[in-house]
């Protein structure tokens, strides 16, 4: 019996050590990024362009680039995602089509991001001759985000109680009316959470935009869909691997990382808050 008690104690200790290591590691990680990056942050950093061949100055073009890439790709994804989710939850005939669409979604969801980058390069940049541009990057990101958003929408629609469907149909509404007037409006907060999660994901991706949109050496803001753009995640990567002056560039990279993290974490936090406030308000 004593042996078992000792084992129990050791087990507890072991688990606690594991948890402590994990938390410590993540803390060190975040502290390091925020402390080194925080030093560089300033209005100037955020809102001016880089100087001196990317060795000094701010990151505004990267911020703008990430903004536009995210906005455009999300705009593409939202209607496609909601409609596909409606198909999967409400129409879904013939059955084989349903299965194939689900397989397609799951496969795309599990595909590494670099492959999307290659796809984007082959199809948008080369085949459709859109060149390395904002639109190529946004389309590539849209394809990456699509399966994730579709799955969010499916969950959102499934969370609408069947009672509401029944009641609507019993009042003489058609399927379309039930979906557009009852189901989607009821699912909207959860769909919104899904959108926010996608935003966080898209803003942080590097590999898909490496060959389709991003560039290191431009100081201009994108003026049209055909321009190359800078982007926050790519900027970090390029500063660290192509930079020629680490003393100034590594801090800039950290600063950029802080901005990116605040963006992404802020967005995730918003999603968590919205989701718990939905759960609290929900009366059914």
């Amino acid at each position: 019996m004593k042996n078992r008690k000792v084992l129990n104690f050791c087990g507890n200790g072991f688990l606690s050590i594991l948890v402590v290591i994990t938390i410590l590691a993540l803390c060190i990680f975040l502290v390091r990024i925020f402390s080194l990056g925080g030093k560089v942050l300033s209005w100037e950093f955020l809102f001016t362009a880089p100087r001196n061949c990317m060795q000094e100055g701010g990151i505004f073009p990267a911020l703008a680039g990430t903004f536009w890439l995210t906005v455009i790709s999300i705009c593409i994804v939202i209607p496609l995602g909601i409609l596909t989710a409606i198909f999967l939850t409400n129409y879904g005939k013939p059955k084989w089509l349903l299965k194939v669409v689900q397989i397609a979604i799951d496969t795309l969801a599990g595909t590494p991001s670099i492959i999307f980058g290659l796809f984007g390069m082959a199809v948008f940049v080369n085949l459709l001759a859109m060149n390395v541009s904002l639109i190529s990057g946004a389309l590539t990101l849209a394809i990456l985000a699509l399966p994730l958003f579709i799955n969010s929408c499916i969950e959102a629609i499934k969370s609408v109680p069947f009672d509401f469907y029944e009641a609507s149909l019993a009042l003489g509404a058609t399927k379309r009316q039930t979906i557009t007037k009852i189901v989607i409006p009821t699912a909207l907060p959860n769909i919104l959470t899904g959108i926010i999660v996608c935003i966080g994901r898209v803003a942080g991706e590097t590999a898909p935009i490496m060959f389709t949109a991003a560039t290191f050496y431009t100081r201009r803001l994108p003026e049209g869909l055909k321009d190359e753009v800078m982007a926050l995640p790519y900027h970090i990567y390029a500063l660290m691997t192509e930079g020629t002056r680490p003393e100034t560039q590594v801090p800039i990279a950290y600063g950029t990382a802080v901005v990116l993290l605040l963006l992404v974490l802020g967005v995730s936090a918003a999603a968590v808050i919205i989701r718990s406030s939905i759960r609290r308000k929900r009366k059914w």
């Binding site: 509401f164 009641a167 149909l169 019993a170 003489g172 007037k181």
Partner: protein, 252 residues
């Protein structure tokens, strides 16, 4: 001479392999309350749902025989199913108002038809809420959430919502089983009032309720319509042994 507004002719229904309704021949008279009673699983809710084709929602449903609204078989009719459902309204066991305002709930059935203007809708919403005995309680907060109402009020709201369509028939599927006794008796009284303008077909597992409010009672057992007649007769001198056992089993 009573008017048969709803009727079935040799109605047989299967869910997949389950033979659920067996040669049901029922006549429901207009401007009356008809109750359908019977033990759990006897098919009474399924029968009710045949009348507004809500069984269509269940896959592998197979129907033979006729279900008629007046003289029109609703399964072969030229009428679209949505029109049938606006003429035959339904209230469910668990109150299910939409997560919208009281006004929007009641107006829903009218808005989807797209043929009424704002004034007409306002008028009919008010009439429906008055007919459901809910108007006085909500007239000052028509645009507040329906889900903030109590259970009994929600159910009356669902009745108002169905009444807004001015249906010819109101199907009630155990409408009070989820409610407290006070709300229950209020809704029973409401039914007695509504039958003057609308045919009411109510499914209930509460025999006393059937006895209190209905003019006609149908007793179902294992998918068959065992007995049907004026409520007083069915309750006092049941013709079939099974009816008698059911009625006395609960009382005794």
């Amino acid at each position: 001479m009573v008017n048969n507004i709803l009727s079935t002719e040799n109605l047989n229904l299967w869910f997949g392999r389950n033979y659920v309704l067996k040669y049901v021949n029922l006549n429901v008279s207009d401007k009356n309350i008809t109750a359908v009673i019977g033990p759990s699983g006897c098919g009474k809710s399924t029968l009710l749902r045949c009348f507004n084709r809500m069984n269509d929602l269940i896959p592998e449903t197979h129907i033979e025989g006729k279900v008629k609204l007046l003289d029109d078989d609703i399964y072969t009719s030229k009428m679209d199913v949505t029109e049938i459902r606006s003429r035959i309204g339904m209230v469910f066991q668990k109150p299910n108002p939409f997560p919208k305002s009281i006004y929007k709930n009641v107006a829903y059935g009218l808005q989807i038809q797209g043929k009424y203007n704002k004034d007409e809708i306002n008028e009919r919403v008010e009439q429906a809420l008055k007919a459901a005995w809910l108007w006085d309680e909500v007239k000052d907060r028509l645009h507040s959430p329906a889900m903030a109402l109590s259970g009994g009020q929600q159910q009356r709201l669902c009745i108002a919502r169905a009444l807004a369509n001015r249906p010819e028939v109101l199907l009630l599927d155990e409408p009070t089983s989820a409610l407290d006794p006070q709300s229950t008796s209020k809704i029973e009284e409401l039914c007695l009032e509504l039958q003057k303008s609308v045919c009411i077909l109510i499914v209930t597992h509460n025999i006393a309720q059937a006895g209190r409010i209905s003019n006609y009672t149908a007793f179902m057992y294992l998918g068959e319509l065992v007995e049907f007649g004026p409520t007083e007769k069915v309750f006092t001198v049941p013709q079939d042994k099974r009816t008698e056992s059911y009625l006395t089993g609960i009382f005794g």
